[in-house]
């Protein structure tokens, strides 16, 4: 294992993040504040508590997930796509590293960035609503696993994409709708029967449910299922990545 290479890639990517620290952090923070103003204060004041939790507090876990999902995908996909686009990938291909090390560097950096952003949103939220995190360990576990598995997904997209349009396509067409419909702003128990069944096919439901449970001990599905789902998702990502690694897909011609 060439750990120095992993560190080099990781630091390089993190340096890129910190170079644009303003944009990296400002935009998620601003959109969170907007969500709070609109949903938490304006609309939320007219909504009853959801199972004993004020609406403003209820949406915090969902909001964090919403941002973390899209940030993970876009950071990781951009991180690996960019060297392919500019041609600097030649150096990765000619270095004494395996695909695993490339993966660790890029996915690690993308996940770290999303984790940081998630925590910043959590801190921002605490200015608007009284927050309690009943199970900090599970909260962090869910957050880290989500950051990792969606960064992995982003990495796969970054390798598959052969243009900037494709890079935007999946986040726009799949991730954002799934995250919105995954119960960020409502409990799927509030949905009528059939829609509730359909929602259960949405993997994001399990992430948000488990994550929300770690805050308020309140979940749409059981903790075990949530955890199992995210691990399955992570494994799927690893399988695809392994296949890419075996075939050199889109990397070596």
């Amino acid at each position: 294992m060439n750990l120095r290479a992993v560190a080099a890639i990781y630091n390089f990517e993190m340096a890129r993040t910190f170079r644009t620290i303003g944009q990296s952090i400002a935009s998620p923070v601003i959109s969170t504040v907007l969500y709070f103003v609109v949903f938490g204060s304006a609309i939320g004041s007219r909504i009853n508590n959801i199972e004993g939790i004020s609406y403003g507090a209820f949406i915090v876990p969902g909001l964090i997930m919403l941002t973390v999902l899209s940030q993970s995908v876009s950071n990781a996909s951009f991180g690996i796509y960019f060297p392919r686009f500019t041609g600097t990938i030649y150096e990765l291909l000619s270095a004494p590293i395996s695909f695993v090390e490339v993966l660790m560097g890029y996915v690690g950096a993308a996940a770290s960035k999303s984790l940081i952003i998630g925590l910043i949103i959590l801190a921002t939220s605490s200015f608007f609503v009284p927050l309690e995190v009943r199970h900090p360990f599970w909260m962090l576990t869910f957050l880290v696993l989500t950051c990792l598995s969606f960064s992995l997904l982003g990495f796969i997209i970054g390798i598959w994409a052969d243009g900037f349009e494709k890079l935007q396509l999946i986040p726009l067409l799949i991730i954002t709708p799934l995250a919105f419909l995954g119960g960020s702003f409502y409990s799927i128990r509030m949905l009528p029967g059939i829609w509730r069944q359909i929602s259960l096919a949405n993997p994001v439901v399990y992430l948000i449910s488990g994550f929300r449970w770690s805050f308020y001990e309140q979940a749409d599905v059981s903790l075990g299922i949530s955890l199992a789902m995210i691990l399955i998702f992570l494994m799927l990502g690893l399988v695809v990545v392994y296949w890419i690694f075996r075939t050199g897909y889109r990397l070596r011609n």
Binding site: N11, R19, T86, G87, T88, Y90, S94, P96, R252
Partner: protein, 312 residues
């Protein structure tokens, strides 16, 4: 010259490459390069030079064949082979917003070498980049970027260095200082494989020359013996009095009357047993043709190259 048991720096056997679109860029290339050699790979645009280099460096997947670098197989021992290799690619590609210092340090880390700021400092100074070390790459000129690519390739102290047209776009002074550095590297035992379209460069630098055309290595030769073997020599005789026409006794020989009859040019093959120069001199004497001056010139590598590639 080299002891027989010495492992070559590079050994290529039956290398083939067919790209995904079905284009065969390399057709069964065999090539051995000894440690410490400077090898120049020449060939017209699209001949397959970059493909060959990229196959050795791990950027292109060969369709068939074996590659060994210092005795290590480039698939089963890719970490060893890539560790030994440094590559300056033909295309300049840079992370525009990185600084020179950071990008070179990154390369060293990527190749798994411990941090060594003193070494990178010497490297940047030697490449006249030290005063630019904190500049972002987008602020550099084209030739400077090329030198950053060289610094990146040398950052992990490679034993085999590939230079794919390293001097394209580099000014004359820097180019010659670059070649001095290449020679210095060779002094430390580094093997150098380069491509260039400036044939006089290859002529000046290389120990051995390979010519590739349409994906085939049509020739590999020691430069000196190549020039000798293929080189035609010309004997130029400046006459004391101009001639109106060639004397009949000289007609039919490879000899021409040039410069309004003031010059005789005799072309001969250096490899021939009897090059005919002595007979020519005798003949001039019997014909009472007197001359002011006499000189010989050998054809350049460029002429040899054009001739070779033209034939194929």
């Amino acid at each position: 010259m080299t002891p027989p048991d010495k492992t070559p720096a590079l050994e290529i056997r039956g290398l083939e490459k067919t790209y995904q679109n079905g284009f065969q860029a390399l057709k069964t290339v065999d090539l051995t390069i000894q440690t410490g050699e400077i090898f120049a790979l020449l060939g017209p645009n699209g001949a397959g030079k970059t493909t060959l280099i990229n196959a050795v460096c791990g950027i292109v997947r060969p369709s068939a064949g074996q590659i060994q670098v210092c005795g290590f197989d480039h698939v089963t021992h890719y970490r060893n082979t890539r560790d030994l290799i440094g590559l300056v690619p033909q295309e300049i590609t840079t992370d525009a917003f990185e600084t020179v210092w950071n990008t070179v340090r990154f390369s060293r880390g990527l190749f798994g070498k411990p941090r060594n700021d003193a070494y990178i400092e010497t490297l940047l100074k030697r490449l006249s980049l030290w005063d630019k070390k904190d500049n972002q790459l987008r602020m550099l000129s084209g030739g400077m970027k090329r030198r950053v690519m060289i610094a990146k390739a040398l950052s992990h102290e490679p034993q085999v260095l590939f230079l794919d047209e390293p001097t394209a776009g580099v000014d004359v002074t820097l180019r010659s200082s670059m070649w001095d550095q290449v020679r210095e590297l060779r002094e430390t035992g580094v093997t150098i494989i380069l491509t260039t379209h400036y044939i006089e460069e290859a002529e000046e630098m290389a120990d051995r020359i390979g010519v590739i055309n349409h994906g085939e290595l049509i020739l590999t030769e020691n430069k000196k013996s190549l020039m000798k073997k293929l080189g035609k020599k010309e004997l130029v005789i400046d006459l004391a009095q101009p001639l109106t026409e060639l004397p009949a006794s000289l007609a039919g020989k490879p000899i021409q009357l040039l410069q309004d009859g003031q010059q005789l040019v005799y072309t001969y093959d250096t490899l021939q047993e009897n090059n005919g120069v002595a007979e020519l001199m005798d003949e001039l004497k019997t014909q009472h043709i007197r001359f002011k001056d006499i000189s010989t010139q050998q054809s350049s590598l460029e002429e040899i190259f054009v001739q070779l590639v033209g034939q194929a």
